[in-house]
């Protein structure tokens, strides 16, 4: 903690070790660099998109081009993204795989390198894993399919299940919501489409693994999940990317629809390499008595901007965001939550914990809106920041707009620092400085980690250990 230069160097070395692996790439389809109407046509032709999708994409391209970078409130670092140096579509051309045996060895090797625990591989039977921009592996667990649940990639969703897909697609997050949702709408590929029929409670969480394996290649997955009346679903998403030499853009759009009395839990653990821009729009629409929970963990990336939201449209709907962010040197985690109350007696809860290591910066940005004509709405917001080194940074921008006097809101925020005395105490018990730091950080987020499934919390702990190793000088 005393020699900052040494700290930075050791982090750089450490990060090199962590992310430095990749596998040979074979791409049958490649849209080339840059974005134009021709790029859109190429993508549509290769994917054999229906005409309405082609029109949707082209309209989105116009919206994207007309919107300025949101640097009036967000980081200037966005200006370093060169949209002409990005390849917007790559595909191996392989059809989605149906069984584990069919998965290419190099993909399996990737899972191996990512250290996915044995326990978790069992879950892979019900997993859709995305390799580059198309699903290389996709297998809906039979029991789930038997219940009438659709679990396919979004391309298949929009073609084969247009009657369910189309009415909600782009409705929770309109194309023009922000510059990056427009970009995604123009060039999206991959991502999942899930439909759970009324009353069906999906017992096992559905999972998807995403990874990027091409330099200068942006990944724009598009996920739409519709859970019908009284049905329940947990979806888990884990992302990790190999190291690249130039910046990489990742811009996903995830839309959730929870019909009356439905429950959706969407769990994400992301560990991007340090050069990735991760600019994600995630939002759910909760109807009467429905519940949507976003459980989100962001580690790595150069800049992450992500504010999962819930629009509580029906009476007594509930929205929740539980998030953990870890920003190391050279990283900015700009995360938060958006809670839009649009009906009486709706309840929202936001709990956010961030950790800044080295010269890392974490930002909490929250928006809570309770309009005047409603009554009986509740919001609770807690955001806690932990600073590890003396030059670590954190900032908080909570915007809570409550009109009318029939509501209840609570807001708590704290900033704390790992104390040298605490580390001394732990070291005196035999723990190395890094192990003491890790334990301390794990303690800070412990109550939130419990919200993650067991196998994810193990992985999370390992990721934090890796990040903390470089933080001590």
């Amino acid at each position: 903690m005393t020699t900052e230069t040494a700290t930075v160097q050791s982090i750089a070395r450490e990060r090199g070790e962590i992310g430095n692996f990749r596998f040979p790439e074979k791409h049958k389809y490649d849209a080339g660099f840059g974005l134009s109407e021709r790029t859109i046509d190429y993508i549509c032709d290769v994917k054999n998109d229906p005409d309405w999708v082609r029109a949707f994409r082209k309209k989105a391209l116009g919206v994207f081009e007309s919107k300025p970078m949101p640097t009036h409130w967000a980081s200037d670092d966005l200006n370093t993204i060169d949209f002409d140096k990005i390849r917007y579509y790559l595909s191996s051309g392989d059809l989605p795989k149906r069984s584990w045996d069919d998965v290419p060895d190099e993909v399996k090797q990737t899972f191996e390198r990512l250290g996915i625990p044995e326990q978790e591989r069992k879950f892979l039977a019900g997993v859709e894993a995305q390799y580059d921009s198309e699903a290389a592996y996709s297998n809906v667990k039979e029991a789930v399919a038997e219940q009438g649940v659709l679990f396919v990639n979004s391309t298949e969703g929009l073609k084969e299940h247009a009657d369910i897909f189309r009415p909600w697609f782009g409705k929770v997050i309109p194309t023009g919501d922000n510059k990056f949702s427009a970009l995604n709408s123009a060039v999206f590929s991959g991502g999942s489409f899930i439909y759970v029929p009324p009353g069906v409670k999906v017992k096992h969480p559905l999972q998807a693994y995403f990874r990027i394996n091409s330099e200068q290649f942006g990944q724009f997955e598009r996920t739409l999940i519709i859970v019908d009346e009284g049905a329940e679903l947990t979806y888990m998403e884990g992302c990790t990317a190999p190291k690249f030499e130039t910046s990489t853009l990742h811009s996903a759009v995830v839309e959730l629809v929870a019909m009356k009395g439905a429950k959706i839990q969407y769990i994400t653990v992301q560990n991007w390499s340090a050069n990735v821009f991760n600019l994600v729009t995630k939002r759910g629409l909760a109807h009467e008595d429905a519940e949507i929970r976003w459980i989100d963990c962001n580690i790595g990336s150069r800049l992450t901007m992500k504010y999962p939201g819930v629009i509580m449209k029906g009476r007594r709907a509930r929205g929740e965001v539980i998030s953990i962010a870890l920003a190391n040197t050279g990283q900015h985690q700009d995360t938060g939550a958006k809670m839009i109350h649009a009906a009486d007696e709706t309840t929202s809860n936001v709990v956010s914990k961030s950790i800044s290591v080295g010269q890392g910066r974490s930002t909490y940005r929250g928006q809570v809106l309770i309009p005047k004509h409603l009554k009986g709405c509740k919001n609770n917001t807690e955001c806690d920041a932990l600073l590890i080194n003396s030059n670590s940074k954190t900032d908080t921008y909570p915007a809570i707009t409550v009109r009318g006097n029939q509501h209840s809101t609570q807001h708590e925020a704290s900033v704390s620092q790992v104390s040298e005395e605490q580390i001394f105490y732990m070291q005196q018990r035999g723990l190395s400085e890094a192990a003491a730091m890790s334990l301390s950080v794990n303690g800070f987020i412990n109550d939130l980690v419990r919200e993650f499934p067991m196998e994810y919390s193990v992985e999370l702990k390992r990721l934090i250990d890796l990040e903390m190793e470089g933080s001590v000088g």
Binding site: Y425, Q428, L431
Partner: protein, 261 residues
């Protein structure tokens, strides 16, 4: 040089931030199998000695050395000293929010194992519960965050619990008796006495003789102005209690005057 003791030789130390001298040539040898007590008035350097042995960065060693079983303590990092067998029961134990007592102890024990080896959970919990019962600690303390929301007495008991599980070769107890009522003091003493073995040296740092009624030391040292000014057996502690620390100070001054004359 012995490989069976903690040997402090001519130790000089200052406060790192401002150079204020705290220890001025302290000598003390704690052999395995013995219990020594260090007594002394406020500000004599008792707690500083404990922190310097553990490796606290607020102090700078300016001269002298400390050998742990013949190895130079000051060549080791804080955690290496701990793993080499040195334990410090803190006067003010720290809180570690979100980390359970059981997990903390497991992590500390795991740190002592070779890479790749793990603690056997079943025997760990069995041991943990046995020691907790000896210290009259409720088993619910295993799941509670380390020292968070503990009373003063519970924190001190928790220090002894950690010592019992980590089984150090040399344990330094820094004012473990302060803030304890008589019942808690007896319980803590029971734990410490259970740790008295021929393989372990224990250094009790205390202000009061009271603790020594329950943990009877083999030797008593008096620390004043950063040096050991008297050493003796248990009766020295009793004498101190009767006559107060001024008695030592006056005797010292008289001796100094005689030497100067």
């Amino acid at each position: 040089m012995s490989t069976n003791c903690l040997e402090i030789r001519n130790l000089h130390a200052t406060i790192a931030a401002n150079g204020t001298p705290i220890l001025n040539g302290l000598d003390l040898t704690l052999p395995k199998g013995e219990v020594h007590a260090i007594m002394g008035p406020n500000g004599s350097g008792k707690s500083t000695l404990a922190k310097i042995l553990a490796g606290h960065k607020a102090y700078e060693v300016t001269d002298g050395e400390v050998l742990l079983d013949g190895n130079n303590l000051f060549d080791m990092e804080i955690d290496e000293r701990a793993r080499a067998g040195l334990f410090l029961a803190f006067q003010y134990p720290l809180e570690i929010p979100g980390v359970s007592n059981a997990n903390f102890l497991r992590a500390a024990l795991s740190a002592r194992l070779p890479e790749g080896e793990e603690i056997d959970a079943v025997s760990f919990y069995k041991q943990l519960r046995a020691k907790m019962s000896l210290l009259d600690m409720d088993t619910k303390f295993t799941g509670r965050a380390v020292n968070e929301g503990f009373s003063g007495g519970e924190k001190k008991r928790n220090e002894i619990l950690q010592m019992m599980l980590l089984e150090p070769t040399y344990a330094v107890l820094d004012e473990t008796d302060s803030g304890l009522d008589i019942d808690a003091l007896k319980i803590v003493a029971r734990g410490v006495n259970a740790m008295r073995t021929p393989e372990r040296g224990i250094l009790l740092i205390t202000h009061y003789q009271r603790l020594l009624n329950y943990i009877q030391p083999d030797h008593v040292h008096v620390l004043a102005n950063g040096r050991i000014v008297r050493s003796g057996d248990r009766t020295l502690a009793l004498e101190l209690e009767e006559k107060g620390y001024d008695w030592i100070r006056e005797a010292d001054e008289a001796a100094a005057a005689a030497a100067g004359a």
